[in-house]
């Protein structure tokens, strides 16, 4: 395992969302990849600027849906055909049209559960501790400030070099983020 870097990263603070997006684009151009932006509200352009890759969540939801679909149908098939076959008005034991509503419901149920649990699994929530909160000014990220944090695990990260780069973006301030 690689040695843990001495700090979590360096964080620059901006006044406006457009400054943050512009800074993120510059950082990306400069070759930084391991970074994250923080803002009081979602900024669509920011996700693009960070180069947010498409997530694996849709695939997880699809698999969940397929499991729900097959499971829901099999549950009814097992009950009405295998375990306790009943002749109901001469209909075939495997009366698929009657099984569709429940199959649909279980598809939605398992897909929705897969969406929630998959989302939590992929983004690591709930997260009781995150280093960015060690910077006291970061509390403003839920009010009116916009932050860009370049993480020390980025291969291009160099304490002095990155500090100089962030300062060149004309932020309000740049702070070290301890672990």
């Amino acid at each position: 395992m690689k040695r843990r870097p001495p700090i979590y990263g360096l964080m620059a603070e901006f006044d406006t969302p457009s400054d943050l997006v512009a800074a993120t684009l510059r950082a990306r151009e400069a070759g930084y990849r391991k970074m994250d932006g923080y803002s009081p509200y979602p900024i669509e352009e920011l996700a693009e600027a960070i180069g947010f890759h498409s997530s694996r969540l849709p695939l997880i939801v699809l698999i969940g849906g397929l499991i729900g679909c097959a499971g829901g149908y099999y549950l009814q098939y097992w009950v009405s055909v295998m375990d306790y076959p009943l002749n109901i008005g001469g209909r075939p034991l495997n009366s698929w049209p009657s099984f569709i509503p429940v199959t649909f419901e279980t598809t939605v149920l398992v897909a929705a559960l897969a969406a929630v649990l998959g989302m939590l699994g992929l983004n690591g929530l709930p997260m009781p501790y995150h280093p960015v909160f060690n910077v006291s000014r970061f509390a403003l990220a839920s009010r009116d400030r916009f932050f860009l944090c370049i993480e020390a695990t980025d291969p291009k990260f160099d304490h002095e070099e990155t500090m100089r780069f962030l300062k060149s973006l004309k932020p309000r301030s740049v702070s070290q983020v301890p672990h």
């Binding site: 049209p97 009657s98 509503p101």
Partner: protein
């Protein structure tokens, strides 16, 4: 800013001429066919008529839905929809052949119907004079709503009065109720009564959703074809197509939901007055047409329209819209033709000639209506916002 919102006249003129030619040739062929096979002529004509009037009425419903809900998606296609609704007087005229073919089409319209106990009871409603009075009422109601929707919309182009939007909104609420009520009964009269012993309470709604779905596919196709030409090329963007694609997806699902609801209830009840309708549609080739509907009217468009990039791609969305339009025809074929041919799949050459004939004339009339007015409602209070939505 766009100042001139008229389409290239010469091109439309040419399209109009060609459509008219196809229409006349198609109807002439059917006219000749009538001399040899009167029964089949009326059957094919009814099928073709239901298909094309469905698109016109679906457009009427979408215009009113949009006046009530608002949204950029509707403003950019409103004039296309309105042009389609103005073909309804023509459709009233084209209803006449059906009037003369009633005894060929509907068992209740034949004298021997009185020998059937159930049809005798139903004759209080299902009799020729009352049928004609009702049809006249439907057309009168539709044409009246179309008249005012179009009149006020055009007036807004000239006066730019925002109060007209409110007026259109106030008409559209009752207008949709009128459409729902008249179309429920029209679908009972014109289609459900082909098998007069059968009944389904969800039929009217299911028929209307089919119309709106077909109209959405049609207007998406027209918008995409026109979006390569001025002035629509400056307005319609992938953002609008995305919205329209989502609505198409919603109506594909709603159609499947209603079609399945009717099937599930009749399958579960398995009653002698309900289930024969489905038994007839599972005999011979009709079973495969039904399967085709599940696959190509629901499953394929549903899966394709889930994709975000497909909905934003004009060419691909056009292909899906074309598929939906074609399947609308197959669905009507599956609803109508087994009533005449319960033994199995049957396709007469006039089942193609009649849709081409009515369709040619209908499209010519549609093109003529498109030419007559600005293709964008430039003075709608939300027009600029709708254009801006496309540029985001």
């Amino acid at each position: 800013m766009i100042h001139d919102a008229s389409l290239p006249e010469a091109e439309l003129q040419q399209f109009q001429k060609r459509s008219l030619l196809v229409g006349i040739v198609g109807l002439a062929l059917c006219g000749a066919g009538m001399l040899f096979n009167r029964e089949e002529f009326f059957r094919s004509y009814l099928l073709a008529y239901l298909f094309w009037i469905g698109i016109a009425l679906g457009c009427l419903a979408i215009v009113m839905l949009h006046h009530l809900s608002g949204g950029a998606w509707g403003i950019v296609i409103r004039r296309l929809l309105e042009s389609a609704t103005r073909t309804l007087p023509l459709m009233a005229l084209l209803f006449l052949p059906i009037v003369f073919g009633l005894s060929h089409l509907y068992e209740w319209a034949r004298p021997e119907a009185l020998g059937d106990k159930i049809l005798r009871h139903k004759s209080l409603y299902l009799n020729v004079p009352f049928f004609l009075v009702r049809a006249a009422l439907y057309f009168a109601a539709w044409i009246a709503v179309v008249y005012f929707l179009n009149k006020w919309s055009l007036k807004q182009d000239q006066t730019a009065a925002p109060s007209l939007s409110r007026q259109l909104e106030l008409l559209s609420g009752p207008g949709l109720v009128i459409y729902g009520a008249t179309m429920t009964f029209a679908s009972i009269d014109w289609v459900m009564s082909l098998e007069a012993h059968w009944f389904s309470t969800i039929y009217g709604l299911s028929f209307m959703v089919g119309q709106v779905l077909g109209a959405f596919a049609f207007v998406i196709a027209v918008a995409i074809l026109l979006s390569s030409r001025k002035p629509l090329s400056e307005v319609i963007s992938s953002e609008h197509l995305h919205d329209l694609g989502k609505l198409l997806l919603a109506f594909v699902m709603l159609w499947a939901y209603l079609a399945f609801s009717q099937f599930l209830i009749m399958f579960s009840g398995n009653l002698p007055e309900e289930i024969p309708w489905y038994i007839r549609r599972q005999q011979g080739g009709w079973r495969w047409i039904g399967l085709l509907l599940i696959l190509l009217h629901f499953a394929l468009p549903f899966l394709l329209l889930l994709s975000r990039s497909l909905k934003r791609d004009a060419k691909k969305l056009l292909a899906v819209a074309a598929l939906v339009i074609a399947m609308r025809f197959v669905d009507l074929l599956w609803q109508v033709s087994p009533a005449f041919h319960p033994e199995g799949f049957h396709f007469n050459w006039m089942d193609l000639a009649a849709p081409a004939g009515i369709g040619g004339i209908w499209l010519a009339s549609f093109a003529r209506q498109l030419k007559g007015r600005p293709v964008l409602p430039l003075h709608d209070p939300f027009f600029q916002e709708a254009v801006q939505h496309g540029r985001e």
